[in-house]
């Protein structure tokens, strides 16, 4: 029977071509949306490497006087006083300075040379106490300490990804990181933290490097972000009190408080909105294709009532007519899916998208296939049951 159906589908290729095309296009759309979703979901499952729930970010704008004067020492002094003030507040458990804010759009990407090859990594400059504020988990060595500022080497803390990329399985602590550059102190690893995913749950896990920012010794770009761990259950009203106290220390600076849960929500919105839009578009596309499919099947049925009547007269039961219509649809779907798969397979073959893992890719394919088969079966159910109800004598009467 399968062979017979294949022949039938092949001989009707002209009227089937459009349906195969529709299925193929829908398959591609579902694949793209499913892969997007699965990519984010796959990222989401991996541990974040830090804790964000009770962390607040204060974005600081340097006062005009100090900024105009370009007076680094004055800025440094103000920062130190701000720290003191913030740490003295009752709801504050820990505070640290940082160049980047987890979940935030802004970032810092570095590319360094390791034994002649390039290693890309996210970078931050952070102060003492950052590990406490962010709840980092040290797997080797230690976090920065103030005396690190005066060494002949620059201390760095790396995450496990970066450690693996540079040292493989060897212990990185105490070793030099990257090939030295002439104008910089050589990097030396003082600690390793578990994978730190600055971009948040939805972005892939990348290498990460922390450089040291000393409160006593200004160097490089100073941090502009304060990260504060507050006691669990601290009311939002504390935000105002916090700004007031900081404003008291530095009247002409500006302070903007953003709890990290809020920053995280913004990041989620940023990545999920396109997915939701694409998902909605795909849903309506499938709906249209589904309705079209029902229409085409129905039309086919009307054109082919005589064939159905003939098959019934030749011994096909209602059930086998039902089955035939479903199977024909499945053959068409398989053709559309096959063409779609051949197209989609080009992505890994041609290395078009590097970030897609083969699991996510395969899962996306399977989801798209399942969706197309499900759609086809759903759309064919009613027409096939109509076909099964064709009365042979009726169907064979008209010429």
């Amino acid at each position: 029977m399968t062979r017979h159906l294949l022949k039938l589908v092949w001989n009707r290729k002209r009227s089937n071509a459009l349906m195969i095309l529709e299925i193929c296009v829908s398959f591609l759309v579902v694949f793209v949306v499913a892969t997007m979703g699965l990519f984010l979901l796959d990222n989401y499952r991996v541990p974040l490497g830090f804790e964000w729930k009770d962390v607040w970010n204060v974005r600081m704008g340097v006062g005009r006087n100090e900024a105009n004067a370009g007076d680094a020492a004055a800025q440094q002094a103000t920062l130190a006083r701000l720290f003191q003030e913030v740490r003295s507040l009752e709801p504050v458990e820990a505070a640290a300075g940082s160049f980047v804010v987890p979940f935030d759009q802004g970032g810092w990407e570095g590319s360094y040379r390791v034994k002649g090859r390039n290693v890309d990594t996210g970078v931050d400059r952070a102060t003492v106490g950052f590990d406490k504020v962010m709840g980092l988990r040290l797997v080797a060595g230690r976090w920065f300490e103030e005396p690190d500022a005066t060494q002949s080497w620059e201390p760095v803390v790396i995450d496990q990804d970066l450690a693996r990329a540079v040292y493989g399985t060897a212990d990185p602590v105490g070793k030099a990181l990257f090939d030295p550059r002439p104008d910089e102190r050589p990097f030396r690893v003082v600690g390793v933290v578990s994978d730190f995913r600055k971009g948040g749950e939805l972005l892939p896990n990348d290498n990460f490097l922390f450089r040291f920012s000393s409160l006593d010794h200004p160097e490089g770009q100073a941090f502009r972000n304060l990260l504060i761990r507050v006691r669990p259950g601290t009311p939002p009203a504390f935000e105002e009190a916090l700004v007031k106290r900081m404003q008291g220390v530095a009247p002409d600076w500006s302070f903007e408080v953003r709890p990290l849960p809020q920053v995280r929500a913004t990041a989620f919105r940023f990545f999920l909105t396109p997915l939701i839009v694409a998902g909605t578009v795909a849903f309506f596309l499938l709906l249209m294709v589904g309705l079209g499919l029902i229409g085409v099947l129905w039309q086919n049925l009307l054109q082919r009532t005589r064939e159905i009547g003939l098959r019934r007269a030749a011994g096909a039961s209602r059930a086998s007519v039902h089955r035939q219509v479903l199977l024909e649809q499945l053959v068409l779907t398989s053709l559309g899916v096959l063409i779609g798969t051949l197209l989609v397979i080009q992505v890994p073959i041609l290395h078009l998208i590097g970030v897609l893992s083969s699991q996510v890719f395969t899962a996306g394919l399977l989801v798209a296939m399942a969706a197309m088969y499900l759609l086809s079966v759903l759309c064919a159910l009613y027409p096939s049951s109509l076909a099964a109800r064709v009365q042979p004598a009726e169907a064979l009467r008209y010429e």
Binding site: L8, G309, L310, G315, A316, E399
Partner: protein
């Protein structure tokens, strides 16, 4: 073999009610070759449909080998149609999307057999009707007579013991008609196939064992 008892068939449409068959009593024995005659619209095709189990009577009973067909479920009925009855339709009813040999194979699709056996049986049936050389043509590429012969091959491919032929020679010239009549007589004599044939041609009817005449749904004579 086929037994019709007080069979009537009514067609109700929106406005009119047509009595296509009115109280028909007919007994057809095994190995008989019967012709059905009558003017157009007298109910010949309707009668054949009832005997071929394609339709149920409005009243009365149709029995096959002593068993009333309203006792059969769809599956069993389909099976009887498949294994015991061959139908040659007035309008051929070939599937345009299938080649000649694939058309002939259709009844065998609903039987348990291998593709190879199916193909062999279909080719043999086509040989028998003298179309062994046109197996991969499509129906539209054939003449009316050739199409009729494909329809016959399809009706006999499953070796049914009842053959119902609705004007098998109606669309053909007399020479072709004789040829087809020859095939039917051959089946009847050599294989004992029971045949009921609708015809308008008294010359053909003369060659059969018995003639059933219908007029306006009623059996005359």
């Amino acid at each position: 073999m086929i037994h019709l008892q007080q069979v009537s068939k009514l067609y109700r449409t929106d406005r009119v009610e047509t009595t296509a068959l009115d109280n028909i009593n007919l007994e057809i024995g095994k190995g008989e070759f019967i012709s059905v005659m009558g003017p157009s619209g007298c109910g010949k095709s309707t009668l054949l449909n009832l005997m071929g189990l394609l339709d149920a009577p409005s009243s009365g009973s149709v029995a096959l080998d002593g068993k009333a067909i309203d006792r059969y479920g769809d599956r069993a009925l389909s099976r009887v149609r498949n294994e015991r009855i061959g139908f040659i339709f007035q309008q051929f009813h070939l599937v345009p999307d299938l080649s000649v040999v694939d058309n002939v194979e259709i009844p065998l699709l609903y039987r348990r057999m291998s593709n190879k056996e199916r193909r062999k049986a279909a080719l043999a049936a086509l040989d028998r009707v003298g179309l062994g050389s046109r197996t991969h043509h499509f129906p539209t590429q054939l003449s009316g007579g050739q199409q009729q012969r494909v329809a016959i091959a399809r009706a006999i491919v499953g070796r049914p013991n009842i053959l119902l032929a609705d004007e098998p020679t109606g669309n053909l010239d007399s020479q072709m008609g004789d040829e087809i009549m020859g095939i039917l007589e051959d089946l009847n004599q050599k294989e004992g196939t029971t045949i009921v044939m609708v015809t308008h041609d008294p010359r053909m009817a003369d060659k059969t064992h018995r003639v059933v005449r219908l007029f306006d749904g009623r059996q005359v004579q």
